[in-house]
């Protein structure tokens, strides 16, 4: 053991300083009780930021060279920023990507509804929102089928949420906020079919999952 002459005590530590007063310890001790833990700091975030920054710079440069102003490269910038925020939020929130994707899709639907409220641009309710809901629903169902037997139960909540989100176009139609209903109909019919399928094939698991989610 090492000794701190200042505190007058024997100390077993991988450090050369006294943990109490900070003075230099006397003696050597190779067999310490605690290991010297090396800190691991991830460089992933910095590498990702660097790659995206290079992508943006190259695209903006090419855009300026070809068109003399920023045209298409602005979409590359939006895409890179959105991609970075998505990846970072996955890492920071430690949630599974499917539930995170569902959360973003729902948020996007809400923002689009606000945009529709401001602009009355019917393309949003006729096409954009139904396509978004349909895509999200199909992805979640296929994802759950692929990872079935491993995580299906963990994704049941996500699928149910997506089904509920897919009913939003139906609500838009009821309140006469759409003028073209083909995609709207496909969206809510597919949502109901998925829900019926889930009840028939996975009733017990669904019940179990819902009891967890609602804590009853």
């Amino acid at each position: 053991m090492k000794t701190c002459n200042n505190c007058n005590i024997n100390i077993d530590t991988p450090s050369v300083k006294c943990p109490i007063c900070g003075s230099i310890l006397v003696g050597k001790d190779k067999n310490t009780t605690y290991p010297k833990v090396k800190k691991k700091y991830t460089t992933f975030n910095r590498v990702l930021m660097f790659i995206l920054a290079v992508t943006i710079i190259i695209n903006v440069y090419l855009d300026l060279q070809l068109t003399s102003k920023i045209t298409w490269s602005q979409y590359v910038i939006y895409g890179c920023v959105a991609f970075y925020l998505f990846v970072r939020s996955i890492i920071r929130s430690h949630r599974n990507p499917m539930s995170l994707l569902t959360g973003y899709a729902f948020l996007l639907v809400v923002l689009l509804l606000v945009l529709f409220g401001l602009t009355k641009f019917y393309v949003i309710t006729n096409f954009v929102i139904p396509i978004l809901c349909l895509t999200e629903l199909i992805i979640s169902v296929f994802y759950a089928l692929i990872v079935r037997n491993m995580y299906t139960k963990k994704y049941l909540g996500v699928i149910v949420t997506n089904m509920l989100v897919s009913l939003i176009p139906f609500g838009l139609m009821i309140f006469k906020l759409t003028t073209f209903n083909v995609l709207v109909n496909i969206s809510y019919v597919l949502s109901i079919i998925s829900f019926v399928g889930l009840i028939i094939f996975d009733y017990d698991d669904l019940k179990d999952e819902l009891s967890k989610i609602f804590n009853y």
Partner: protein, 410 residues
């Protein structure tokens, strides 16, 4: 598809789950130094046997709509040679099991998130793990283990003993807190001070006091020495977690503790140890009465039982609880005595020392445990420099010339 058992969180688990992403989330560590270097294969088998008895520990944290819940896992976490900081966060994602077992040379470490259990609850699981390890490593037969059932281990005793109309009103004055610089990232200092238990007990008896009250009084004195003149109007407040299993019949290994505190204000005269101990003794006698503890517990549980609170989505509860934690009038420190840890006579010869510690969150915390005649005072410290700890350790070292410190070297 395998069926998975799930558990509602207990009252304290709700709080710790919502604040899990903060720096230095609360994690316990129980550590046993064995006679020989640890054999990882036997430790793995011992862990498998232990988790058969305590499946409510082998869980992951999942998010529901209104509350978090714990879901049982069918696999065990890997046992690795110690390569992480002491009490490093256990929860990183919803796939992480809320405890960690590691080893280094002769030491077995068992670290558990406070979401799952409290100190006393973890001790029982830790003792079973060590007993099972001794069984396989040293071929010892007929080791007596806990005879409580899985239902008793996983019981939510807060829920069982909650009484709606007996709530306590808490009142606080301004509380003194150290304002030194903190260590970066999630770094923290861990110091184990090993003392002769008999010597400390004799000293406590000289003051007609218990070990907890004596060590609490020495801590208050150490804080008083560091208070500036302007701070003398503030209270020194030391949180004291109280194990409720000694008040209510419970075999639960989940959280079941209440919080009370010692508070002391500079009197303007000379605050010698005699005077502090007398005040601390009186205060402790009053505060740890069953009736008073009950009131505080009911106050805590009433939050979870309130219908309006129950109907709030979990992400709003998270924001609310994190904000409260950030701006709460926190204590100066906390002192937790997990008491005497003892193994059965078959296991005892193979265990040299035992220590208990807890992560410091945003100041410093003290955990006390006794194994045989070895009194271990574990201090976890988030501050770069802490003269309170220096005063405290130096006061206690005077009681025992053979005292020694084991530190993690941060």
């Amino acid at each position: 598809m395998k069926n998975t058992e799930w558990y509602k969180l207990d009252n304290m688990g709700v709080y710790y789950a919502s604040t899990k992403d903060r720096k230095n989330p609360t994690v316990f560590r129980f550590t046993a130094t064995m006679k020989d270097d640890v054999d990882v294969v036997n430790l793995r088998v011992a862990l498998e046997d232990t988790m058969e008895l305590y499946p409510n520990f082998n869980v992951t944290l999942k998010k529901g709509l209104f509350w978090y819940y714990l879901e049982e896992e069918h696999h065990l976490p890997d046992i690795k040679e110690e390569n992480k900081a002491v009490c490093a966060r256990v929860y990183r994602s919803e796939y992480d099991i809320l405890y960690r077992v590691s080893y280094y040379k002769k030491r077995i470490n068992f670290e558990v998130s406070h979401i799952v259990s409290d100190g006393r609850g973890t001790i029982e699981v830790f003792k079973t793990l060590i007993a099972n390890y001794v069984k396989y490593q040293y071929k010892v037969k007929n080791i007596k283990l806990s005879n409580s059932t899985i239902e008793e281990h996983s019981e939510d005793s807060f829920d069982k003993y909650y009484e709606k109309y007996k709530k306590d009103k808490l009142k606080d004055g301004k509380i003194f807190r150290l304002k030194n610089k903190l260590l970066p990232y999630e770094d923290a200092k861990f110091i184990e001070l090993h003392l002769n238990c008999k010597k400390v007990l004799n000293k406590a008896h000289e003051y007609d006091s218990t070990i907890t009250a004596y060590l609490g009084a020495v801590l208050i004195q150490s804080v008083l020495k560091e208070m500036k003149q302007l701070d003398k109007g503030k209270y020194v407040r030391i949180d004291l977690p109280v194990d409720l299993r000694s008040y209510f019949r419970s075999e639960s290994s989940r959280n079941f503790f209440g919080l009370t505190y010692l508070s002391y204000k500079f009197t303007g005269e000379v605050d010698d140890l005699d005077k502090i101990i007398k005040i601390v003794n009186d205060e402790m006698t009053e505060k740890i009465k069953k009736e008073n503890i009950s009131k505080r517990v009911n106050k805590m549980v009433s939050f979870q039982k309130n219908f309006a609170v129950r109907a709030i989505p979990i992400f709003i509860k998270d924001i609310f609880l994190n904000t409260i934690t950030e701006f709460a009038n926190n204590s100066t420190t906390s002192l937790s005595n997990v008491g005497k840890i003892s193994f059965s006579k078959e296991v005892d010869p193979y265990v040299e020392t035992v220590a208990a510690m807890i992560s410091p969150e945003k100041n410093f915390k003290i955990t006390i445990c006794t194994y045989g005649n070895d009194l271990v005072i574990s201090i976890s410290d988030k501050y770069r420099r802490n003269n309170i700890v220096k005063n405290y350790v130096r006061s206690l070292v005077e009681l025992d010339e053979d005292a020694f410190i084991i530190s993690n070297g941060v």
